[in-house]
Point group: C2
Chain length 454, copies 2
């Protein structure tokens, strides 16, 4: 089964990898249109399987179609390939070309936007790579329904859906698979990284493995906007039952502030219970919360609901486990007694998807920002980490263990680069060159010619 899908993908690559941006764009737009045609069935099925609620899933479907169309527009325009031409002693021309068939592992927490029709699939298809998706077991019927919708418009071999733990491993081990994209746990991501690195031909793995997304609150911001920040943080921590990889699981307060903690605590306590994605996610959440409770001063912990912990900097720095992600609506506030303590915490952090700084005029955060910049993919100022805009500048990535490959992003147009490699043609006849590299620039794309981009 896996071998057949991989061979079909590899065969299809010989054709699909050379389709024009216009043709690939048509496919992405057709997938988006068909998802919209079937939106009620898809959203209802996803709601049954994930309990995420119809409004959220309707938004997710809109976002998913938007992503597909963003990548369609990118490849229709065409300049993304970084075409370069040098008319030197020898004529050298190069551009980004698709890497080959890609295995995509759908996420549990976004049954559409980071699953079968999600950003990994969209960016790999846009690059010119056939995709084999390994469906997440948390929403098998949604995956199959969406998989059928895509299969009806994709050329033969360009898209396939497989299921099961073993199938996923076989896929990553298969010699015809040339890259892997994954969104999920650190344990799962690391396992795929290790399998891919041990292959006879190691291949890149883009695993987005979550993050605790630290939020630093500086003294003046705390004094002048403490209540507003408590409200914003509460909304961000509890959004979607806290089941986002950008969920802020750690808050570092530059000074002790009882009013802020009480305020946040009251808000967390008042949060209505809501079902989580799967029973095993709920079990893991309960276990994580209980473990945290054993390590720190428990301030507020609502059975089955949102959880808030507080501790001081020395306790936090002593317990590495407190830097682990508790996937769900839980956060830990660390109160610091000095600026230097706050910097110590920043220095002790592992790689993160995001870090946030709340600072008002007069707050000194230059040194903090410099430290955090080396640890994260996205620095946020006076905001909250949840909500990842699908724009060209977005970086949804970060140093290990936030992702397996801190050079990459899984959201935004740069995500397409993950599934490409540069190829050069030297002294090639114009007729054999890809359109993007022909002397006359028939596609009218932006190119670097003899060092000048135009």
């Amino acid at each position: 089964m896996i071998d057949r899908a991989a061979r079909a993908a590899s065969d299809a690559f010989a054709m699909y990898g050379w389709l024009s941006g216009r043709k690939k764009g048509e496919l992405l737009r057709a997938i988006a249109s068909r998802l919209e045609e079937h939106k009620d069935a898809i959203v209802n099925r996803a709601n049954l399987e994930t309990s995420l609620g119809v409004p959220r899933l309707q938004n997710e479907l809109v976002r998913t179609c938007n992503q597909l169309r963003v990548f369609a527009a990118l490849i229709e325009e065409g300049s993304w390939v970084d075409a370069r031409i040098d008319h030197g002693k020898v004529d050298v021309r190069s551009m980004l070309r698709p890497i080959g068939p890609v295995a995509v592992f759908g996420a549990s927490n976004f049954p559409l936007a980071f699953s079968v029709p999600g950003g990994d699939t969209a960016s790999a298809l846009a690059a010119g790579c056939p995709v084999i998706v390994k469906a997440h077991p948390a929403h098998p019927e949604t995956s199959k329904l969406v998989g059928r919708v895509i299969s009806e418009v994709a050329p033969s071999g360009v898209f396939a859906l497989v299921e099961g733990f073993e199938a996923g491993i076989e896929l990553v081990e298969h010699p015809l698979i040339k890259a892997v994209a994954f969104t999920g746990s650190r344990r799962g991501g690391r396992a795929l990284m290790d399998i891919a690195a041990a292959r006879a031909e190691p291949i890149p793995v883009y695993a987005e493995m979550g993050s605790i997304n630290p939020v630093f609150i500086l003294p003046r911001a705390m004094r002048e906007r403490g209540a507003e920040i408590a409200a914003g943080l509460h909304a961000s921590v509890t959004l979607g039952v806290g089941q986002f990889c950008t969920n802020p699981g750690l808050v570092i307060a530059a000074e002790t502030n009882a009013a802020f903690v009480d305020d946040l605590s009251n808000r967390m306590s008042a949060t209505a219970c809501a079902p989580m994605l799967t029973p095993s996610i709920a079990d893991a959440y309960r276990a994580g919360v209980e473990h945290f409770a054993s390590l720190v001063d428990r301030r507020a912990f609502v059975e089955g609901g949102a959880a808030l912990f507080t501790t001081n900097a020395p306790t936090f720095l002593r317990h590495e486990e407190l830097m682990e992600e508790v996937f769900g609506p839980s956060t830990l506030v660390v109160e610091c007694d000095s600026h230097e303590r706050m910097l110590d915490i920043a220095r002790a952090l592992e790689g993160q998807l995001t870090a946030t700084i709340h600072a008002n005029d007069g707050d000194d955060y230059q040194d903090l920002a410099k430290i955090l910049e080396t640890k994260v993919g996205r620095m946020i100022f006076n905001g909250y980490p949840t909500g990842v805009e699908v724009v060209p500048a977005m970086v949804h990535g970060g140093p290990f263990p936030a992702t397996s490959d801190g050079r990459s992003t899984s959201v935004g147009t740069r995500a397409i680069e993950r599934f490409t490699r540069a190829v050069a043609w030297q002294n090639a006849p114009d007729a054999i060159l890809p359109e993007e590299l022909k002397e006359s620039n028939p596609l009218g794309i932006r190119r670097m010619v003899d060092g000048i981009t135009r």
Copy 2:
């Protein structure tokens, strides 16, 4: 020793990673100027250690200084950082930032251009990464001399030289090292890949591990230009005693051609003996040549000198060992009896740095080119693979096992991207943004603003 160098590099990164392109450019230009000031001492020392000859080493020094200045010009201009700004619901800005301290492993066969002051060092320093070079044992005194020259102009911690096998391993294992660049054998490169992948925090390894650089000669090209191609191939195979990673170790002739083989054989036999880089490289060459001789029809084999073998397609396809690199002035001609046989060989090839097609008008090579494009970093037409121009469009890379990371190149300006990662700032005050992302564009670089590049 390694720990001290890594800590110094990490400390220096906090400063050096934020230096302007102009300042980093000054460093690269200062290194080039000082290499030129000391060129006689450096070339003489390198000649004593490598036997490569003064003219070749003088050229290599010129090339090395040129590379340093190419990267200086790139970062002085500044647009390479791929700055992007989106003024949306939230303000998101991103650019490529340096990845952190880099370990560079010098190559045996280029004591300058791919060693201490070579392309890996130049591109990492250009990106903003401190560099620790592990000197190649084939030219220790050259390495130390050049290392001193660089250390005299580099800020403290930004450059260090270490020696020894164990030191190299410690370096790749050190938690403060964030990327590795290597040029050498497949065994050595794979060992570093495995060490890096097994770290608590896996890091990228850019290992350039050589290649057999297949040259395909189509029927009309053979008939109409056979003698010319034999002369060109002979020059390419024997250049620098065959000690180039772009050395053409495999020639696939679309049809049997006794005159061509005789011609090439005569030229190879007439090649003067020359010393190789090290006794162990010479030993490995002799062993490789003897192994090949046991597998194929031996046509010409000059004791201690250039070696030519011929065989037919079925024999070649039966012996995987014939696809292994014999580092030195040796090549294998495979004679095919049909176009389809030639395509079978193309399909059977592993990843390569280059592939070359010799074709005249009327030769059909579209299908061959499509197959080869998926296997190589650079496709050459009617030329020879040796000689890698340092130009923006160059790709000196290729799928595994040619390199560890087929997405990258170690020559040309794209090489800088290896040592970077994208970082985003969201709703950041203008004052804290890097110059490249400030609203007023003080550096006047090319940026993508709201999706439009200008």
